[in-house]
C-alpha cells in the first residue's frame, strides 16, 4: 500500500506556470520533508495533494482514509476555543481529550481561550494538535513548527513523532529549517527552478533513532547542506 502518489505534470495560475514535473511516491508511514525557497510552490503542491485545487495536469493519489493538514497559517475558527476547535472536527476526540492533547503541547491553561486571545505560536500549536487528533492516513504539514522557541519546538517534534509512530500515518511536510528536516524526515525532497521541479530526492542518512540525537543531526546537516544555499 502506498501512502501518497504524486505524478504532477504542471500547475499554473492564470497562465503562469508555477509547478512543472514533480513525481514521487511515499510508502505508507513514510515521512518526507519538502524543501525549497520561499515562493517556489511548496504550499501550492500541498494544496493540490489536499484536493483544494483540481485545476492541474497529472495525477495525485492520496491514500484511503482521513486527511489532516497543518496550514501555513493556523486557520482556527476564531469563535471557538482552542479545545472546541479540535473537538468539533469529525473523528476527533471529545472536549476533555482535546484538553489533554493541548496540555501535551503546553497549552493546558489556554485550552478554553479563544484563538485571537492567545499568541500566534500557541495558535500554531493548537492547529498542530488538531491535525494530530483525527488519526489520519496522510498528514500534510506546511511549516508546522515555525514561530516556536527551540524548547517548545522540540516538545512539539516529540509529540509529532509519537503520534506518527502510533498512527502510522504518512507525512509530507515543508520546512525551511534543514536541521528540523533531518530531525523528522525519512526522506528529503527539494524543489526548485521555474516552473518548480523536483531537483533532489534523498533518503535521510539518519535512522529514526539516530535523529533523536542533536549532535548526529548537526553532523548530517553539515554533510548534506554544506554548500551555501
Amino acid at each position: 500500500m502506498t501512502g501518497l502518489m504524486v505524478s504532477l505534470a504542471g500547475k499554473s495560475f492564470a497562465g503562469q506556470a508555477v509547478l512543472g514535473h514533480i513525481s514521487f511516491t511515499l510508502d505508507a508511514g513514510e515521512r518526507a520533508c519538502l524543501l525549497g525557497p520561499s515562493g517556489i510552490g511548496k504550499s501550492t503542491l500541498l494544496n493540490l495533494v489536499a484536493g483544494f485545487d483540481t485545476d492541474y495536469q497529472g495525477t495525485i493519489t492520496p491514500p484511503h482514509g482521513r486527511l489532516a493538514m497543518v496550514f501555513q497559517s493556523p486557520r482556527l475558527l476564531p469563535w471557538r476555543t482552542l479545545a472546541q476547535n479540535i473537538a468539533l472536527i469529525p473523528g476527533a476526540p471529545d472536549l476533555a481529550a482535546a484538553r489533554t492533547l493541548l496540555a501535551e503541547a503546553g497549552l493546558a491553561e489556554a485550552a478554553d481561550q479563544y484563538p485571537e486571545k492567545v499568541s500566534l505560536g500557541m495558535q500554531r500549536r493548537a492547529a498542530l494538535c488538531r491535525a494530530l487528533a483525527v488519526d489520519p492516513a496522510l498528514i500534510l504539514l506546511d511549516e508546522p513548527l515555525v514561530s516556536l522557541d527551540p524548547a517548545t519546538a522540540e516538545q512539539m517534534r516529540q509529540l509529532l513523532r509519537r503520534t506518527l509512530d502510533v498512527t502510522g500515518a504518512t507525512a509530507l511536510m515543508t520546512t525551511h529549517d534543514r536541521r528540523e528536516a533531518l530531525a523528522l524526515a525519512d526522506r528529503i525532497l527539494e524543489i526548485g527552478g521555474s516552473p518548480a521541479t523536483l531537483v533532489r530526492d534523498r533518503p535521510s542518512p539518519l535512522s529514526r533513532a539516530e535523529r533523536l540525537d542533536p549532535d548526529k543531526v548537526e553532523t548530517a546537516y553539515k554533510a548534506l547542506f554544506k554548500h551555501p544555499d
Partner: protein, 254 residues
C-alpha cells in the same frame, strides 16, 4: 475601532435608557415650542393612548405583533436559506439572482393585492404577502455575507470533512453574524412597515388599520400612540435580546 455597544453589565444597560430619555426631552421641547397639533407632545400622546386603550389598543397591538412575528420568522428563515445558498453556489446564483432582484423590486402593493385576491382576505394571505415582500431583502443581505466567507476556513472544513450541519453551525453562521444582525434589524422594521400596509388593505384590525383610521381623522397624537407602542416593543427586543446576544456572539474578538 470597534464598538462594545454598551459598557459592562448593569452600567451599560443604563445607556439606552438615558439616550431615550434625552430623545423624550428633545421631543417635549420641540412640541412645546411648536405648539401645533401636528407635533403633539408626550402629554397629548398619552391621552390619545388612554383613549385608544379603552377602544381596544391591546387587541390591535397583539394582532399586529402576531402578524409581524409570523412574517418575520418566515421571511428570515426562507430568506437566509436562499441568500446563503446563492452566495455559496455560483450556479444557483447565476440562475436565480436576477429573480431575487426582480422580486426585490416588485411594489409591496402588487404582492399584497395579488395575495389577497388569490387567497382571500385571510390572515394567511396577509402574513404571506409580508413574507414575500421581505424574503428578497434578507436573501440579498445574506448573499453578500456568504460571498465574503473566508476561503481559508472553507478549505479547512473541507479537508476535515465537516458535515453540512457542522459546517453551517461552526464555520458559516458565525461569519454571517453581522449580516444576520443587519438583516434582522432591518427586517423587523420592514416587516412591521409592510404589515401596516397589509392591514390597511385588507384586515379589520391591527395597528395599521388604526393608524390609517387616525390618519383619516388626522389625529396625529393617535398615530403616535400606536407607532410609539410598537417602537417601545422593538427597543425592548433590542436591549433585552439582541444586544446581549451580540455581546455573547462577539466575545471571541480581541
Amino acid at each position: 475601532m470597534r464598538a462594545d455597544t454598551s459598557g459592562s453589565g448593569a452600567r451599560g444597560a443604563l445607556w439606552p435608557l438615558f439616550s431615550l430619555a434625552l430623545l423624550l426631552v428633545l421631543w417635549t421641547g420641540a412640541a412645546a415650542w411648536l405648539q401645533s397639533d401636528l407635533l403633539p407632545g408626550p402629554g397629548a400622546v398619552w391621552q390619545a393612548f388612554q383613549r385608544e386603550w379603552q377602544l381596544g389598543y391591546l387587541e390591535d397591538m397583539l394582532a399586529t405583533l402576531a402578524r409581524v412575528g409570523a412574517a418575520f420568522a418566515l421571511a428570515m428563515s426562507i430568506g437566509a436559506a436562499l441568500g446563503i445558498w446563492l452566495g455559496m453556489t455560483p450556479a444557483a446564483d447565476r440562475l436565480l439572482w436576477s429573480w431575487v432582484i426582480f422580486f426585490l423590486n416588485v411594489p409591496a402593493l402588487v404582492t399584497i393585492v395579488l395575495c389577497y385576491v388569490w387567497f382571500g382576505l385571510t390572515e394567511t394571505a396577509a402574513v404571506l404577502a409580508v413574507a414575500i415582500n421581505k424574503i428578497p431583502n434578507v436573501a440579498a443581505t445574506l448573499r453578500e455575507g456568504a460571498r465574503a466567507l473566508s476561503t481559508d476556513l472553507a478549505e479547512m472544513a473541507r479537508l476535515y470533512r465537516m458535515p453540512a450541519i457542522a459546517l453551517l453551525r461552526h464555520v458559516v453562521l458565525p461569519q454571517l453574524a453581522p449580516f444576520f444582525a443587519a438583516a434582522a434589524r432591518n427586517g423587523l422594521a420592514l416587516v412591521w412597515k409592510i404589515v401596516l400596509v397589509v392591514e390597511l388593505l385588507g384586515r379589520p384590525n391591527g395597528v395599521g388599520f388604526e393608524i390609517h383610521s387616525q390618519f383619516q381623522l388626522f389625529d396625529v397624537a393617535g398615530i403616535f400612540a400606536y407607532a410609539l407602542g410598537f417602537i417601545a416593543i422593538v427597543q425592548a427586543i433590542e436591549w433585552l435580546i439582541l444586544a446581549p446576544w451580540e455581546r455573547a456572539a462577539r466575545r471571541w474578538r480581541r
